[in-house]
Symmetry: D4
Subunit: 255 residues, 8 copies
């Protein structure tokens, strides 16, 4: 509850416009929820949909959660989803789409949906594509225009160079790589906007399930690079959409 | 060299306006530098200063590098600097400042310097302050307004709550924490802008030099959080300034 | 054998009330068992049931062990049990219950069973519930009243705040969390009783099978927090019941 | 602010006994502090002193903080303190004591101080004594009677057996061990109260700074054992005092 | 594009021998591809085939890629291939061979194919043979004569001694070993040419999936030993063929 | 070839008793085999059977190898064997036995087989029994009398005490334990002969596949304890039989 | 107390030869000490001296402990000792010797001291000598004849071969190696007696403080090899002396 | 001893040209040395100097070893040397040179010394230069022409591109990098000769002493890359000289 609202409430109580019980309920409500006001305000302000992590949920449960979100008028985004989960969702939400490579389900876009700004998504190898696609679908569902270019690893820099003009105007780049995880450093040296690095568990032997790529990215010698968890395409796409939104909407608040 | 420039050059050579040698020099120059055009354009466009990592450099060398940057009219920023290095720099650059807690040296701000936007820097404990200060000095030197609040760890959430209104309007938050590294998750749940998490090597025993905090932050359950290397206050401040700049200047490029 | 008992025995032998053979048997018995007297006394004093770890045991073996415990009048508690193991047990012990989410089997409660005190069990996410349920069933079977609240993670502090009044009066809290494992620190900052932290193997990528949560909890900045093994809901529930019992029964022994 | 207090405040405002500004200040105060009410209540209820972690603090700063706590009538406890820090503290607080082996400073005990209950502190080797002493001094400063027995490692069980009668009546045992960390398992098999295991960094080679002991304790086959961070004698002593207090004061709250 | 070629091109344009468009295409081609000239030149110069990593690819996709390479007149080499993938390939490329132990598919050798030089491939145990065979098939497909000797581990040095004369004349040795990975050190002490060590994931317990062998090889006390990733028989065979080719073809370039 | 033999050979050649070819064969044989003379001598001297590690071998291959050893009159010992492998072996070697818990196959004992000395095999928990049984079967097959006692973990020392008299006379003890791996330290403190510690992969969470037990055993505070690889019951049984043999046969060689 | 002794005691009490108090003292003494009877018997039987680990002890304390052992007629052995500690010891024990490379102090040998059997101590490099020397001094002080050969690493097998005849007759070999730790496997393949492997922390980079050597030794492909902690020369020498003693004294006990 | 030599020896003995003692000495000599013939032949054939690892050696010892090598006419190379060690060496070997950045001492080059072939040494950052210099000095001392280019990291590819023409003709490249270790992958994608990757311990935080760079290099997606130990500039320079020598001298041996 902001100061102005609180003063208003107290004035109305002092003025006898509301009684003690109503004032108590209003105050205890906010006291109970505490930080929650922030949380709700957040959804309202960003228009970002609620996201469901489907791994380990039954098709029926997944569909039930999705239907509830859909009924509240929010756009559905479900990550790590199987085809079986999609079928359950599709039987309750007309127009739901299964993004096979991304393993994501999205609800139908609203009639007035627009995509704004520009997010680039790059991956080093073809095996990294599922993670990159998860980032792409997430960023698009959250309202960003996305340019995706895959298989542009550091051992063939000419492919990267060939594609570079296409994403030079992006507000932010998501760079997905397994094995040695060197691509974000190379991109970070070429690109003067934020780079979100996503290590993948692709590799074998001393990749140790993505640890090699993760450490490589954390130690990147390029400034402007930050890292999310191994295989966390959703987290990267979400953050990219957040930064893209900031760039598009500007900032009117000053400290 | 962009297509238009190249065509122009070839046309002038075909037309005899320039000779082969001049064309060769122009082409070979760009061939030699290749991606470097990007790199130089970057400095020009962002106005971001070149940054010097002072660790392991002699005071004399540090001062020489700083003087060269200063003479080129760029603002000096030196991280991980000692007092001895500062004295050497100060003897060559009038108005240089030593930020003791941040272990940074900055050159004098230009007369027309302004800080724009709003970056929040928070730290969990008093021991994390040097890393947080490095982030603050970096972001300020790169032109961002910064609000810093330290010692707001998760075991005393009331302090965080008390300070929260002050940084609610920030475009991006840098959150610095050692030990279990839980603060970015808590902030990420309260704040609807990008959060850059910085693990520190503060702790003992099973903190393993910051590994515990690093893993905690990578596994954050809050969306919108990304991570930089342990103790990398500079990297976080740089990225925060980049995002803040995007928010302030908006984005006119579209894919 | 306590001093008084030993003196008594020797006096009886010296007095000819018992012969050498009986004295030998009594003494060698305790000598053979040695520390075992402690062990048996323990079961007697606490009324805590023997606990069976079912993983890797055949349904028949599990049922046989359970039946033997049941026949000795002790309450049965079997952890990490499958449905097949439950069916075998149920065919021998009428009234046995299978706690599906907790993967536990319990024998029928005695007619005069009461639950005392108050143990709180909290979990950060829905995926952590099996471990939390194992803690809850264990603590209840050992005689504690339990309040359980799940899905109160640190990225949504308002939910934690909303539930907090319900467990403020607990003697001890079991806090279960995977991913970054931050919840015990937050609870530890709010709650002035012992907090038992249970890391879970829930997560992916850099959670490394629960290592991230484990390290986070060990490095907790909140005092009053201790940690058990990854996924060890039983251990946490057992310890919580022990502390709860101490709080309820008081302490009449002085050093 | 509890419900009764809030209702009282609103009634007084409605009744005109206080004006809007006073009501606003009171409410905003608690709103600002939020969870802090819990925090303050905690200090009041437990009578536990504030604890200062001295590592990395200057003697002057350490003494200033200690003096402020002392002036508020709370008992001072400073851990990881050097002799230089003690001298600074002693010059401001008459009667301060330096516990050399524990590396702790305590302020003078109040005239009416009593120690209650019974906490046992055991260590496996002589090198573990500093950590064990930190636990002992902490628990004593927080009001517990402590029995300490050192050098009772598992390779000489007869020493443990010989000492066992002395701590059989303890409400809780703190067990400190480096190297293989086996002592808590052995004690846990003999003792039917909570055991708090503290791994130490004592050892060499494959002890990896206490990792071997830490893992050993987490995998303890004895129920009732939980673990704190490597070398965290303070944490163990604090938790032991908490449990001891619960045992002594009993529990009148029911869910 | 080398300087001479560029000067030639510009002269021809200035001389009107080619028009602007042709010059632009030639230059932009190399500009677009950038470093790719190197890449293509490489294939041309070495005659090394393109290699396909089959793991995770469908039989149809694998066959399609193989057919395209085959049609371009390059020899096909496919690693980590299954029998199903081989059948798909064989239906499109007559004469393709499946190397079962090596899990490799190779296309038919050209009529004029010769193998030159001498590469030795040794393995420590029978379980390491698949990795060793992958190295052998790779090196042979890339044109090297290979001598392979398996099961010559360090615990039976007499077998190694018995075989040693057969590979003493090799230009380079690939040494494959799991478990403690000691064989490369022993070979490196006997053999005055480069040794490429390949750790395998063979072993159990503290082999940690090949980590023990990897660390052993990196710490080899013998000079002239370098290491590739765990189980990376292909990488070792490729590098061995490269070194063998250098030894056979000599070097006429001087700095 | 020992000096005396070599001198003899040369003398016979010089004396014309043998010709050059025979001398060459004898010498080159030993030269070729080099250290192998040691190896063969070893088998001869010890009467230890050749041991087959069956994991990953086909039943047919396993049986073929076993038959060859059996035909050479050596006793067969096959570890990590499946029932299918046993059936294949049994069809070729009459009297072969499958030790189910140990997962070992042994050939029929010779008519004059005797077991000598005394090896103790202890395990901490029932889950460790397969590894302990592998050690027992190995040591027995190599001619040692074995006393095995299982389920004598450190959390119930009375069971260990009760069994202790039975193995006090052993020449060497194999101690098998998972989880925290504390049993070897306890046994090492009670027993004045060599203790061979075998960590097992039994456990969950922070046991990390036996790493916790392994580190615990390496850091054992008891002298006289050494460690073999995780789950390596064979290695421990083999070494125990070696030490037992030394104790029984005495030592007549002096430096 | 053995059965016969106990029966004897009870008979004497029943017969009135001793009174209750004496019987109580005798029984309680052994009860108090419990397993300690074993412990004392051990020292008596083996004649092995008590060993002092000097690291972290003051010279005065070290000397005091040493003097007490010396006065009880046991031979002094102090490991990890500094020169300052030696001087303090030498001022109290005439004839004490400082073994500089081994960092050990030994007391004067008794007049009737003899060394028996044969222990081999080998090291891979010159840097491993301090650890090897600690093993040698320990084994000699415990009564074993020792043959030591250093700098016989696997990269120069000819040196090992040249020295091999000298230790072929040893009852047990201690093999010390850092870096890749391969020497024990090679020795284990040549030598048909127990091999005790000691990893050292010698190395750099990926030796990770001896971890590479430790893992290599645990994964040794040679049977008969067991491992002690990194740099634990004492432990290896102690165990070697134990095995050597067994070989020399034979074994008259049978199960 | 080769077959022809052995037959010759035996014929001479049979023919009475030599006596038994001479034949015994010759044979026993080679038997004693065994593989050493290889070793000596190696030095002779390669002309490679013996290399001294100076770390931990006294200046006097270092100088004594160096003098002995120098007197045998071999060129001295001492790595990891301090200035004090150099002064001791220089006092005994006129013309010795201290390479400060490489921390190496070399003896005077022979009058007829020539450098052949072409080895490239590249480093990513200025901090990696000491390791790169160790590689350069080693390769030069072993007779290779070396082109060194430092500070060409992946975040500024234009610098790499600008330097690339200078080392395109090298037979082999040594690529030194700390932090994320990405440079070898990029170079490996551009360069069709062997690449030897050297991780350095340069970095902080999650570089974990070079582990991040090491893992990155092992997982390199470029073929033709192999890796040596962290900071092992010597090993890389040695191997590069070996490969360079092969390229220059060609190979006349065929299997």
């Amino acid at each position: 509850m902001r100061d102005a609202e609180l003063k208003q409430l107290l004035r109305r109580l002092a003025a006898g416009e509301i009684d003690e019980a109503a004032a108590f309920d209003a105050l205890r409500g906010s006291a109970r929820l505490g930080f929650a006001t922030v949380d709700l305000a957040r959804g309202a302000r960003c228009g970002f949909p609620e996201v469901v992590f489907a791994e380990g949920k039954s098709p029926a449960d997944t569909a039930a959660i999705a239907a509830r979100i859909h009924e509240h008028g929010q756009r559905v985004l479900i990550t790590r989803a199987t085809e079986a989960q999609f079928e359950a969702v599709a039987s309750r939400i007309a127009g739901a789409v299964y993004h096979e490579r991304a393993r994501c389900i999205t609800g139908p876009e609203g009639a007035d949906a627009t995509r704004v700004g520009h997010v680039a998504v790059l991956s080093a190898g073809t095996s990294d594509i599922p993670v990159a696609e998860e980032a792409r679908v997430t960023a698009e569902t959250l309202g960003a225009e996305v340019t995706a270019r895959y298989d542009v690893g550091v051992a063939g820099l000419h492919r990267l160079a060939a594609e570079f003009d296409d994403f030079r105007s992006a507000n932010v780049a998501v760079v997905v790589a397994g094995m040695e995880g060197a691509l974000p450093s190379v991109v970070g040296g070429l690109f003067d906007r934020p780079v979100i690095a996503v290590p993948t568990s692709i590799g074998y032997g001393a990749s140790f399930g993505g640890l090699a790529a993760l450490l490589g990215m954390l130690n990147s010698c390029a400034a402007g690079v930050s890292v999310v968890n191994i295989d966390n395409g959703f987290g990267a796409g979400y953050l990219a959409a957040l930064i893209n939104r900031l760039a598009v909407t500007g900032d009117s608040t000053k400290p």
